[in-house]
C-alpha cells in the first residue's frame, strides 16, 4: 500500500510516505514557508522510494482544525493529487494526529487534545486508543474557550497539544484528574498513516472535490444584517 500524507495545519509542516512496509517523512518548523517547502519535501520522499505520483494508492491529509490557510494548503495539495492521479483522498483530523502521536511516542491510551485556536479559544477533542493501536474520537471536536472545556473524570486523560502551555490557568480545571503532561504539541504527517490505512481498507476514501477542510470556527465575519442587529 502506498499512501502520501500531508499536514500543514499548524506552524509545523510535514509530509510522510508509506511505501509498502517502509515509512519515510520530512518535516520543518519554518513559519510561513509551508507552501514553498511542501512540494520539494514530497519530491524527495517520492524519489527516495522510487515512486511516481501515478504509483500512489491514496493521498491523506490533515483536514483541520488549525490555521485556516495552513489547512487549505494541505487540502488543496491533497485534492490536486487525488484528482490528478485519480485516487481516493483521506481527510484526517489534525486533533486525531496529535492523539495518535501520543500513542506513538508515549503509548498513551487516553488523550485530551487541546490546540491553540487563537482568539482566546482552543480546538478541543478527547481520544481513546482502541485495541488496534488507533485513536478514536470520544464525543465531538469543538472550538471553545479553555475555561469552557469539560472532560469526564475517568479514564485518566493525558493532556496533549499546543494549547496546554498557552492556557495553563484556564485549563487547570480539567487537569485536576492527576494526569501528566506529555511532550506532544504539534501534529505530524507520519501519524496520519496508521489512521489513513484503516480508512482506505474500510473504503472511507473520498473523491478529490469532497476532500474538504474542517475549520470548526465557522463564523468568520458578520453580514451587514447581523452587524445592524449587534449595533
Amino acid at each position: 500500500m502506498k499512501i502520501l500524507a500531508i499536514d500543514t495545519a499548524t506552524e509545523a509542516c510535514s509530509v510522510a510516505l508509506q511505501c509498502d512496509g517502509e515509512i519515510r517523512f520530512r518535516d520543518t518548523l519554518e513559519p510561513r514557508a509551508h507552501a514553498r517547502v511542501l512540494l520539494p519535501m514530497i519530491e524527495e520522499l517520492m524519489a527516495e522510494a522510487g515512486l511516481s505520483p501515478a504509483g500512489l494508492d491514496a493521498v491523506a491529509f490533515g483536514r483541520g482544525p488549525g490555521s485556516f490557510t495552513g489547512v487549505r494548503i494541505a487540502t488543496a495539495a491533497a485534492q490536486a493529487v487525488a484528482y490528478g492521479v485519480d485516487i481516493p483522498a483521506l481527510p484526517v483530523s489534525s486533533l486525531a494526529l496529535v492523539a495518535q502521536q501520543a500513542v506513538r511516542k508515549h503509548g498513551i491510551e487516553h488523550a485530551a487534545v487541546a490546540m491553540d485556536a487563537r482568539m482566546g479559544e482552543v480546538y478541543w477533542a478527547a481520544y481513546s486508543c482502541l485495541a488496534d493501536g488507533l485513536m478514536q474520537l470520544v464525543g465531538d471536536e469543538r472550538v471553545l474557550a479553555p475555561a469552557a472545556v469539560t472532560l469526564p473524570d475517568t479514564p485518566n486523560w493525558t493532556p496533549v497539544g499546543s494549547a496546554w502551555a498557552v492556557y495553563p490557568e484556564a485549563l487547570r480545571h480539567v487537569r485536576a484528574g492527576g494526569v501528566t503532561q506529555a511532550a506532544v504539541t504539534l501534529p505530524h504527517a507520519q501519524d496520519i498513516l496508521p489512521l489513513a490505512k484503516l480508512m482506505l481498507q474500510r473504503g472511507e476514501g473520498v473523491a478529490a472535490e469532497l476532500a474538504l477542510p474542517v475549520y470548526l470556527r465557522n463564523q468568520v465575519a458578520l453580514t451587514e444584517a447581523q452587524r445592524r442587529t449587534t449595533d
Binding site: R36, T69, R72, Q79, E209
Partner: protein, 340 residues
C-alpha cells in the same frame, strides 16, 4: 499546447483551457459576488473557503465542455499574485500540485498580466505596442506594453482604486455591493450635470490618479442633499461621469506622451458602458483604436490566466523551479519569457 488556467486571487474562481495554436477552448467561472454582497464587500476568508470547494468541479466542467481529459493537458498556469494571500494559496497550490501529479510543467502567472493580455482572447485583438488602462477594485494603472513581459508603469493611483471608489460611493448611497454596476445602474436615471464633481489630478501634468477626494466630494454632496431617490441618481451620475472622464483624460494623455494610438482597457471597471463609450469616442478622434476584452473577461477569469501562461510557455519560458505566492507583485517587475 493545451494550457489549463486557474484563477483564485479574489472572489472569483476561474478555470479555462487555452490552446496556443487555436485559442480559447473552454472556460468556467464561479463568482462569489452574491455571497460577499451580504457582507458589504469581499471577506477574504470566506473567499478562500469557497475557492477550495469550487476549483475541482469547475475544472471537471471546463474539461467536459472542451471534451478533453486531464491527461490531454500540456501545462498548468495559475495566478500566483497579486491578490488576497489566502485566496491565492488555494488556486496556486492546487495548480502546482495538479501539474506535479500529471507530470507536466506549471507556470506562475501575474494576475495583472492576465488582464493586460485579455483582449488577445478576441479574434480582433491589438498588436504591441499599446497603452493599457488596468482599472478594477484593486488597481488603477496605466501601463505601456511593448511586448510580453515588457511593461512600463506610467501612472498609478495614489490612494483608492477606481473600483474601490465606486464601491464606497455605492455604500454611501445605499446602493449595495458591488459598487460599479450598482452606481452605473442608478446613474441611468440621473442628471450628471447637477453635481459637477472635480476631475481629480487632471489640472496638473502626470498620469497619476487619486479618487479619495472624489469619494469625499460625493459624501459631502450626499450629506447636504435631501437624500431623495433623485439625489441618489444624480450623485451617482455625477460621480460616474467624473471617474470616467478622469480615466479618459489620463488615457489620452498617456497615448500622446508615448506617441501611441492603441489603447486597451481591462479590469472590472472596463465593463462600465460610459467608460467604453467615452474612450471609443475620444480615441477615435486621434485616429486610434480601443480594445476591450469581452465583458465576461473584464472581470477576473481563468481564460486570461491560461492565455498568459500559454503565451509565456510558447515564448520559451522555462517552467518554474520553486513555488511562491506573491500577494504584492509589481507588474513592471515582469520580464519577457526568454529572460525569466
Amino acid at each position: 499546447m493545451l494550457v489549463l488556467g486557474i484563477e483564485s486571487s479574489c472572489d472569483e474562481t476561474g478555470i479555462a483551457v487555452y490552446d496556443t495554436d487555436a485559442g480559447l477552448v473552454a472556460h468556467t467561472l464561479f463568482s462569489q459576488v452574491d455571497t460577499h454582497a451580504l457582507y458589504g464587500g469581499v471577506v477574504p476568508e470566506i473567499a478562500s473557503r469557497d475557492h477550495i470547494k469550487r476549483w475541482i468541479p469547475l475544472t471537471r466542467e471546463c474539461l467536459e465542455q472542451a471534451q478533453l481529459k486531464l491527461e490531454d493537458l500540456d501545462a498548468v498556469a495559475y495566478t500566483s499574485g497579486p491578490g488576497l494571500a489566502g485566496a491565492l494559496f488555494t488556486g496556486a497550490i492546487a495548480g502546482r500540485m495538479l501539474a506535479w501529479s500529471l507530470g507536466i510543467p506549471a507556470l506562475a502567472v501575474h494576475h495583472m498580466e492576465g488582464h493586460l493580455l485579455a483582449p488577445m482572447l478576441e479574434a480582433h485583438s491589438p498588436s504591441f505596442p499599446f497603452i493599457c488602462l488596468l482599472v478594477s477594485g484593486g488597481h488603477t494603472q496605466l501601463v505601456r506594453v511593448d511586448g510580453l513581459g515588457q511593461y512600463k508603469l506610467l501612472g498609478d493611483t495614489l490612494d483608492d482604486a477606481a473600483g474601490e471608489a465606486f464601491d464606497k460611493t455605492a455604500k454611501l448611497l445605499g446602493l449595495g455591493y458591488p459598487g460599479g454596476p450598482k452606481v452605473a445602474n442608478a446613474a441611468l436615471d440621473g442628471d450628471p450635470e447637477r453635481f459637477k464633481f472635480a476631475r481629480p489630478m487632471t489640472n496638473r501634468a502626470g498620469l497619476e490618479f487619486s479618487f479619495s477626494g472624489l469619494k469625499t466630494a460625493a459624501m459631502t454632496a450626499w450629506r447636504q442633499s435631501e437624500q431623495s431617490a433623485r439625489d441618489v441618481a444624480d450623485i451617482a451620475a455625477g460621480f460616474q461621469a467624473a471617474v470616467v472622464d478622469t480615466l479618459a483624460i489620463k488615457c489620452l494623455r498617456a497615448l500622446k506622451q508615448e506617441h501611441l494610438t492603441t489603447l486597451v482597457a481591462s479590469g472590472g471597471v472596463a465593463a462600465n458602458a460610459q467608460l467604453r463609450n467615452l474612450l471609443a469616442k475620444r480615441v477615435a478622434r486621434i485616429g486610434g483604436e480601443v480594445f476591450y476584452p469581452r465583458l465576461e473577461f473584464c472581470t477576473d477569469n481563468g481564460a486570461m490566466i491560461a492565455l498568459a501562461g500559454g503565451l509565456r510557455l510558447s515564448g520559451g519560458q522555462k517552467p518554474e523551479q520553486h513555488f511562491e505566492v506573491r500577494p504584492r507583485w509589481p507588474v513592471e517587475s515582469l520580464v519577457p519569457p526568454q529572460a525569466s
